[in-house]
Symmetry: C2
Subunit: 147 residues, 2 copies
Amino acid sequence: MNRKHLTQAECPVARSLEAVGDWWSLLIVRDAFFGKRRFGEFLSSLGVARNILTTRLKKLVAHGILETIPASDGSAYKEYVLTEKAKGLYLVLIALRQWGQGCMTNDGDQEMTLVDRRTRTPIQPLALRSADGRELGPEDVELVAVQ
Amino acid sequence: MNRKHLTQAECPVARSLEAVGDWWSLLIVRDAFFGKRRFGEFLSSLGVARNILTTRLKKLVAHGILETIPASDGSAYKEYVLTEKAKGLYLVLIALRQWGQGCMTNDGDQEMTLVDRRTRTPIQPLALRSADGRELGPEDVELVAVQ
């Protein structure tokens, strides 16, 4: 099995990773959620080599995660914006963020928190819940075939 | 900036990706959640080259995501098990799975669903919620510094 085969893989985790599972791609998506749109903005935010950024942006467009639109200021630049399909990835980023904050903290970081824009209060931590609302851990769930 | 620098990165998403952001590592973690423990089990499940699997397992142990224990059957093999720290990654996998199912479906897949072991009913989709329980989309949240 190689990377190419996994877009046809049965596991949706493997299919998702084929699209966004390289390290830079998810950071580009993160920046796009924060409003970055131009090649130069991604370049300075990520400190990535130009050729790597070019390849990753092309791949994200090919996977229908980013699309290109004419620049909003009428200049000749194109801008990269998230597609509808990409919107669901914010849960992946928030889950990664939550795990990173809980388990891989560094001293000296400026602590940041996600707030609800409307009320300015912190959001609830992401949690997996049963149909009747109980919080579920990894040992509480099982993958079964739909009949 | 290169990969090494990002363990010290301020963004917890970047820190998490440094630990699990290569494609095989998260699939190894997924298999470990499904109860796989031995080198040979990961090897046949993932179809990955032995040298790549060796490197990834070492990295996951170094990051404190897997730990090695003596084989449960008393044989000379060692087994890889998820650490406490790794447990939080199930939300990342479920978010990837949910996005993969919603957006990257392939015809002909056997449909699988996650159920609550206790009630055998499907779990609620993962969702981001405000303190008062409203479901929030990516445009409803903002990252702010904690005062």
